[in-house]
């Protein structure tokens, strides 16, 4: 109310400026939307065109006729090197890899975060610091030691090995998320539970875990996206039939038999990107909420 009266008092001339500013804001935002959706648009459109139509060169044009062949091709026929089975088996490879890796790394992160916030011990902050440090180690730096370790354990080149790599690499992040979330939970809650007779797991299970939905969503999205999209670990620590979808996508795009099938490439890339896209659309609002909840106290 005071704002309105102030506006009226200032006279009619200035009343237009908020509307103009707002218009400008939407214009700029609109341009950004266009800028970011254009590549996606080109991908979708190209994947629905036939090869002859692509060769005509209208990159931004809508397809004259919608052809789904490229998608079918990408899913079950496209060739990577000499094997022509499409993305389908590799898609399931990725699922089989991502699901356990996400679950295990999130679970370990939750327990780590719980201990590092609620059951601090001498040196716990140093351990947390070291784990944080682990987040900043580039993938390339751990390739060789990881390969040796996997070889020694005897799980090199299979899914279990790749799951282990992603779990180990993800623990730093998942611990960080959960620890920062639990630090904002009042300590008195744990004290009350201790007096009620709850132990380590009883405090974690019935009390803290149900409060953790936002941070679980954040962690799952984070881990899902980074593991699904990972290429380097995939290409380094898996072989042949075990390769994840990112590696297969690379192979498909790079195997040409004379003609470059852009529509198939685009469809393959879309197929590889759809799961992460879905995760964002379904859980996106929790993602923002969870990130904020971890950083701002109270």
């Amino acid at each position: 109310m005071p704002d309105q009266t102030a506006n009226v008092a200032r006279g009619g001339g200035k009343r237009w400026s908020p509307i103009l500013l707002r218009g400008l804001l939407f214009l700029i935002l609109g341009l950004f939307v266009l800028y970011y959706t254009l590549p996606l648009f080109v991908m979708v459109v190209t994947s629905l065109k036939s090869l002859p139509e692509i060769r005509q060169g209208a990159l931004l044009g809508l397809p004259k006729e919608i052809v789904l062949d490229a998608w079918k091709n990408a899913w079950s026929e496209a060739c990577a090197g000499v094997t022509c089975v499409g993305l389908k088996p590799y898609f399931w490879n990725s699922v089989v890899l991502v699901v356990p890796a996400v679950i295990i790394s999130t679970a370990i992160g939750a327990i780590n975060g719980y201990i590092l916030s609620m059951w601090q011990f001498k040196g716990s902050n140093i351990i947390f610091g070291l784990m944080l440090f682990g987040c900043f180690i580039p993938f390339q730096a751990v390739l060789l030691p990881m390969a040796i370790t996997l070889g020694k354990i005897g799980i090199a080149g299979n899914v279990a090995g790749l799951v282990l790599v992603h779990v180990v690499y993800g623990i730093g992040f998942t611990t960080l998320f959960f620890r920062n979330y639990y630090v904002s939970v009042p300590v008195e809650l744990v004290k009350a539970a201790k007096i009620d007779g709850a132990g380590f797991w009883t405090i974690f299970g019935p009390i803290l875990l149900p409060m953790s939905a936002p941070v679980i969503v954040v962690t799952v999205i984070w881990q899902f996206t980074s593991i699904w999209n990972d290429f380097l670990f995939g290409v380094s620590f898996s072989q042949g039939d075990n390769q994840p979808i990112t590696v297969a996508l690379n192979n498909i795009v790079n195997s040409t038999t004379g003609v470059k099938e852009y529509n198939v490439d685009m469809a393959s890339a879309m197929i590889a990107a759809i799961p992460t896209l879905l995760v964002y659309i379904v859980a996106g609002k929790y993602f923002i909420r969870g990130l904020a909840a971890g950083s701002v106290k109270g």
Binding site: E188, K191, A192, I195, D196, G197, A198, T202, P206, M211
Partner: protein, 368 residues
């Protein structure tokens, strides 16, 4: 036999001594209030009693058994926290029965205990709600319900009312008092609010800098404070302190305060010294504002004096008014009936009742 006893208790955080040689004991049905300014160690003492923190040295005994190593859940205590600490994802019912569930109390007994407590605290209609759907006062009740349902040997309250608004605080205060009178349980209660301490306690421990300055009944602390700190902390408005010396005037002890050539003499021959002062000893005279009144309404006791003083400031509370005067280089506050007309800067006769004064040593600030 005492229900709770602390013996030579010390607590250090690194090099900081938070508690120094704490000794206290309370009996069945006592309501002990630990009161003091923030950082005096009162909450630490409560946490150590609950077993949530370890002591550095000394013993905590419940029913004469040392419980230093006993975990909180086995100490037969229940605690109410300042932030209520209700489990946010559980309903009121689950909050209250969680402890019993953990201890594997049979379902039927749980239900019975829940009904009893819910009826006692008038929260029957809230049982299905989540804590976020409750008001501050309701959360407070649920937190108390969670403690009550346990029927513990000792209740521990950690500043339970400080998050409530003034009116609700007074209401909950009297409810806690009623509960104590009805159930006769032993309570240890931490607060920084002396009014709360005075109105609730059967025993008050005033703490300062990690030591107990004085332990006693509320009236005892009010009438005969052990030190300037206790005298200043207990009572509102605070006690007036005037610096001066003790001199012998014709065989009678007399308090003399000199400021810029004017000398004020107060006869203190009637005062029961526990520690006889020497001639000329620096002392602090303490008089509560309640005994500094207007001449018009009060009778003259055996030991009383009249002064002509100039009011500097006046605050009315409705029932009475607090008036501030310049006196001997300092200020003293008096409590006048609101029926008396007080005019700022217009001198008037002020009557000081000397039968209830306190005298402290000038250096140690202890009562003599």
């Amino acid at each position: 036999m005492s229900v709770l006893e602390a013996k030579n208790l010390y607590k250090n955080f690194g090099t900081v001594e938070v508690l120094k040689d704490i000794n206290l004991s309370i009996d069945e049905g006592d309501f002990l209030v630990l009161v003091g300014p923030s950082g005096c160690g009162k909450s630490t003492l409560l946490n150590i009693t609950a077993g949530l923190e370890d002591m550095s040295a000394g013993d905590i005994m419940i029913d004469d058994a040392v419980v230093n190593e006993v975990p909180p859940k086995d100490r037969d205590i229940a605690m109410v926290f300042q932030s209520y600490a209700l489990y946010p994802t559980m309903t009121v019912e689950k909050n209250i029965t969680f402890g019993m569930k953990v201890r594997k109390v049979p379902q039927a007994l749980r239900k019975e205990a829940l009904d009893r407590v819910a009826g006692l605290l008038h929260i029957d209609h809230l049982l299905d709600r989540k804590p976020s759907q409750l008001s501050g006062g309701q959360r407070q009740r649920v937190a108390m319900g969670r403690a009550l349902v346990r029927e513990p040997r000792i209740f521990l309250f950690d500043e339970p009312l400080s998050n409530l608004d003034a009116k609700l605080r007074i209401q909950m205060r009297s409810e806690i008092k009623q509960l104590h009178q009805r159930l006769g349980t032993t309570i240890v209660y931490v607060t920084h609010d002396q009014t709360e301490a005075m109105s609730l306690a059967t025993k008050i421990a005033v703490m300062n800098g990690g030591v107990i300055e004085q332990l006693g009944a509320p009236q005892e602390l009010y009438d005969t404070p052990n030190s300037v700190f206790v005298a200043d902390f207990i009572g509102s408005p605070a006690m007036n302190f005037i610096k001066g010396q003790v001199v012998d005037v014709a065989g009678n002890a007399c308090f003399v305060s000199t400021h810029e050539g004017t000398e004020v003499r107060v006869p203190i021959g009637h005062y029961g010294f526990t520690d006889q002062p020497v001639e000329g000893q620096d002392v602090i005279l303490g008089v509560r504002p309640e005994y500094i009144t207007s001449n018009a309404t009060d009778h003259h006791g055996v030991a009383s004096m009249d002064f002509d003083l100039t009011p500097k400031l006046m605050e009315t509370t409705g029932f009475d008014q607090h008036v501030l005067f310049d006196f001997c280089g300092g200020e003293i506050a008096g409590r006048f009936s609101s029926k008396i007309e007080v005019v700022i800067d217009q001198p008037q006769t002020v009557h000081i009742d000397l039968s209830t004064i306190s005298i402290f040593d000038g250096k140690s600030e202890r009562r003599i």
